[in-house]
């Protein structure tokens, strides 16, 4: 039985969230949706997903804080992909410094996102198997 992989998506743009949900569910993933950083953290704690996708600029608890929380407080090695409309170098560096795994600047291609998700999950499986 192939249990489908869980993805937590934190995105406050409702139609983008809908699109990604549709596309990713079509690929066989289970989607857990959050509208802001706080909801995202709750979902992550509850479901321990295989991958986390988060926008950076979200109300109140930003994407950067989500990453920081996951890496430092929950001590998880879950791959995190960050996307943001801010293409500023500093933002990217910050995200990586805190522990993001990959970064996509908006506007991005959903197809590319799927490729990256698959690659990250594949690498993670190899990684887990070796250890």
């Amino acid at each position: 039985m192939n249990t489908s992989k869980k993805i937590v998506l934190a995105e406050d743009n409702s139609i983008l969230a809908l699109l990604l949900k549709y596309k990713l569910e079509k690929e066989g993933y289970t989607l857990l949706m959050a509208k802001d950083g706080k909801e995202a953290i709750e979902l992550i704690e509850l479901h321990n997903p295989e991958i986390i996708l988060t926008d950076i600029m979200m109300p109140f608890v930003s994407g950067l804080e989500v990453i920081s929380y996951v890496r430092n407080k929950l001590n998880l090695t879950t791959p995190i992909i960050v996307f943001s409309s801010s293409g500023q170098e500093e933002m990217v560096l910050n995200a990586f410094n805190i522990g993001a795994t990959d970064f996509m600047s908006k506007p991005f291609s959903p197809n590319e996102l799927i490729i990256r998700i698959k690659r990250l999950l594949f690498n993670k499986t190899i990684f887990d198997k070796t250890w």
């Binding site: 109300p59 109140f60 990453i67 293409g87 500023q88 933002m91 910050n94």
Partner: protein, 478 residues
């Protein structure tokens, strides 16, 4: 002969009061009409502005938000978090802990992983010295935050420390308990970047009253009309002032006041004029007058901009004691500022600043309450002496009252047609009722506070800022 002259004097005095009232009404009407046109123009212009582009730009100018804090332990962590989540790329948040006697600093250090750093401060404006020092966060998610702990010196002194520390080109001086909406910096910086024919030295925003509004996690979730009549009256008052007053002054480039709760300044010029004046309680008005005066004296074409969008939400006093204390302070601030800069009054060298703005503030803001109270006393005097022409007086009073109500209702309609913040059912009727009641509920106390302010200014030099009791913004029940 005696009876005739006394009759003549009585008539003259009455004509004076009537003339003054009509001139005041006329000025309100002119300002209202100009404001309405300006509001329409602004909404048209802004209906297709895309703020998103500048949101992510690397060349957008750097802004420092400076927020002085004194004994704010109840909300400080929440407020700072909300300031850190503003949708602007190039900014930092400088919290100046002005010698608080509580544990504000400890709370901040814990919540944001702060450590003390060495920081050389360019003391362009003399301020009280540092206490615990300058702190920054070890967590990159909070790298925008700088906390400064210093000896107590008052709000103006704390703001000056912020000016000294800020490495950025513009500074936003705010009250730490103000809720700034996410796009506030974007919208406020626009006039600085858009104006090509003059230099924008400062931009002021609109203050909206947050009482009874639901604010959760630093976001404005729900706008409600508070039940407290005093606050409702203030809501109307603020709407009148901002929608039908300041909009016109901004068009005439005569804006003399930028709310201390939220204003954006060109840092270089603010420092050039010497920063905020620590000896006045009306430092927000005083610095604008001084900056304007400076630009007039330098003969540089300049502008003080104004953004009418609701960007800043704050608590208004809901009991009479604090309300009167606040208005008392505002009165003293106005008197101090006008007195300090009396050189520009009616002085053609200062163009519209001296010929229109200053005289208007002097007559209709500073002197008007005194004239009004004198009028009331005079009226009582006439009653005692049986010299009142009742039919005139009565007709006149009724008309004046109806005018006030009408003006408030026009304000409410303007608000509906522009920003429509009060969407819930029933609020329309409640606002209209407030318009009818406000002249009795708020106005007498404003007059009283004003007179007391005058009295305190001239005879009571020991009075200070007064405390605002923090209730906590997160009253929202889940």
């Amino acid at each position: 002969m005696n009876l005739n002259t006394s009759g003549l004097i009585i008539d003259l005095i009455q004509y004076f009061f009537i003339a003054f009232t009509f001139s005041a009404i006329l000025s309100y009407l002119i300002l209202a009409i100009i404001s309405i046109f300006e509001n329409r123009h602004y909404m048209k212009k802004n209906s297709f502005v895309n703020y998103k582009d500048i949101l992510s730009s690397t060349i957008s100018p750097s802004i420092s938000i400076i927020a002085p804090a004194y004994n704010e332990t109840l909300n400080i962590v929440e407020n700072v978090r909300s300031l850190l989540s503003n949708h602007y790329v190039n900014y930092d948040v400088i919290i100046v802990n002005d010698g608080s006697k509580d544990d504000s600093l400890e709370k901040l250090i814990k919540a944001y992983d702060l450590v003390k750093i060495d920081y050389v401060i360019n003391n362009q404006i003399p301020t009280k010295p540092l206490r615990e020092g300058v702190f920054k966060s070890t967590n990159p998610a909070f790298e925008k935050l700088i906390v400064v702990d210093k000896e107590n010196g008052g709000k103006a002194d704390a703001l000056n420390t912020g000016l000294n520390i800020s490495p950025n080109k513009y500074v936003a001086c705010i009250d730490v308990d103000c809720l700034l909406l996410e796009e506030s910096l974007l919208k406020m910086i626009k006039p600085f970047l858009e104006t090509t024919d003059s230099k924008v030295i400062a931009a002021g925003g609109v203050i909206r009253i947050a009482n009874s509004c639901i604010i959760k996690d630093g976001k404005l979730l729900d706008v409600n009309l508070p039940t407290n009549m005093l606050v409702r009256g203030q809501i109307l008052e603020y709407l009148r002032a901002f929608l039908l007053g300041r909009m016109a002054w901004s068009k005439l480039n005569g804006l003399l006041v930028i709310s201390g709760a939220f204003g954006l300044f060109d840092k270089k010029i603010a420092i050039e004029v010497g920063g905020y004046d620590t000896k006045t309680v009306g430092e927000d008005m005083e610095i604008i007058v001084r900056m304007r005066r400076h630009m007039e004296e330098q003969k540089i074409k300049y502008k003080v901009a104004y953004i009418p969008d609701p960007l800043c939400w704050t608590e208004a006093p809901d009991n009479y004691k604090i309300f009167i204390s606040q208005r008392n302070r505002w009165t003293r601030g106005t008197i101090e500022t006008l007195k300090k800069h009396k050189k520009i009054g009616f002085n053609p060298k200062y163009k519209s600043l001296g010929i229109i703005s200053y005289p208007y503030w002097l007559i209709y803001e500073r002197l008007a309450p005194i004239i009004e109270v004198t009028g009331v006393l005079y009226f009582i005097f006439l009653i005692i002496n049986n010299a009142v022409k009742w039919d005139y007086a009565f007709a006149f009073l009724v008309l004046a009252y109806l005018f006030t109500v009408l003006f408030s209702i026009i304000t409410i309609i303007t608000e509906e047609l522009t920003y429509h913040q009060y969407k819930k059912k029933g609020i329309g009727l409640q606002l209209i009722t407030t318009a009818f009641l406000e002249p009795f509920i708020n106005h007498p106390f404003i007059l009283y506070a004003n007179i007391k302010g005058n009295f305190d200014y001239y005879f009571n030099k020991d009075i200070k800022w007064g405390e605002m009791v923090r209730k906590g913004m997160n009253k929202a029940s889940d």
